[in-house]
Point group: C2
Chain length 201, copies 2
């Protein structure tokens, strides 16, 4: 954007990643180009190759940043059960804030969410992705486990139950990020969460 005075940029890698996130959310993955990012950073078209093996690796690092954000959001959501509209003694009181945080993240950063969970293995290859994905999943696992100790769906296998609950959250996230529900229906994250809890409860 602004021309620089030194031959070396100094902070190119992070600028490229930051701008990649901005451009991703603004224009979508299909309009994200390495050349465009380079131009924004005021650098030649091939300069990004000094910091990323290729486009895919840049996207993988972006996905890794996304998993870090998701983990922080989930861990800060109070899944221990202090944040529920239904009262703290309700078995699902920890699950509700966890689902709210998860789907809220998808709603705030739809394109990043889609990138993180798209095939191509953006979310699989790096340890950083895996570790932070595990942190986020850990919140869900804890919340489901707590609910089971309080008598919820005690006949179900814990692993199956977590996967089913995650499916529900991932599905709703997909409907949001892909804009599948017409505006006329008038649904939003909060009233969906309500009907979601109704389905689970």
């Amino acid at each position: 954007m602004k021309p620089r005075t030194t031959y070396h940029h100094g902070d190119l890698k992070q600028v490229l990643l930051d701008q990649a996130l901005t451009a991703l959310e603004a224009d979508g993955l299909e309009n994200l180009s390495l050349r465009g990012l380079a131009q924004f950073a005021g650098v030649s078209k091939t300069a990004p190759y000094r910091h990323f093996r290729n486009k895919e690796q840049l996207l993988a690092e972006l996905a890794a940043e996304g998993f870090t954000l998701l983990a922080e959001e989930m861990e800060g959501a109070g899944t221990k059960g202090d944040n529920s509209l239904c009262g703290t003694n309700y078995p699902l009181s920890g699950l509700e804030p966890a689902l709210r945080a998860y789907v809220g993240f998808a709603g705030k950063r739809p394109q990043l969410y889609q990138l993180m969970f798209s095939r191509h293995g953006y979310g699989l290859h790096s340890d950083r992705c895996r570790n932070n994905a595990d942190r986020a999943m850990g919140c869900l696992i804890d919340a489901v486990g707590t609910a089971q100790t309080r008598g919820w769906k005690t006949d179900q296998d814990p692993v199956s139950l977590v996967l089913s609950v995650w499916s529900l959250a991932h599905g709703w996230a997909g409907m949001l990020t892909e804009k599948l529900i017409p505006d006329e229906v008038g649904f939003n994250p909060e009233n969906w969460l309500e009907s979601c809890m109704g389905l689970l409860g």
Copy 2:
């Protein structure tokens, strides 16, 4: 592929669509090119523009074909309740085959499923998409409605309930098409359906 003898192809539009589906499932959307399709059909790079306004419109027609397939699959699934492992008098006996058909479609044609439900409005613009999507959704609505008349979740709003059930199915479809669950977990459509019914039941 094979060179043709007449100046006019005769069947170009459908050949392009057929090959688009084949190439989509084989190599993914990001590797699907109009020029590649034209070359396969043995035609110049610009010939496809005689049949489609642009690449997006070809993809939209492909998505429309997908919704037709999905509707047929769902309507043939016996959602009236004759096809359940749990017995025909179980309230959810119609929901089970509907979910199996829906997720089965996603598992068989993952890339087409993703295209149909991706943003860009591939699934929104044409009436043909909408009509067939409505047919498929109708099966789900019927199955949920039947379950409610048999006493399942009678306190829930029918529309919310359908959306939640659809979220669950769409979420599982996403996990399949995006290969989110490691093979080690050993999950497949059939044992997921079981745990899914456990969550709902």
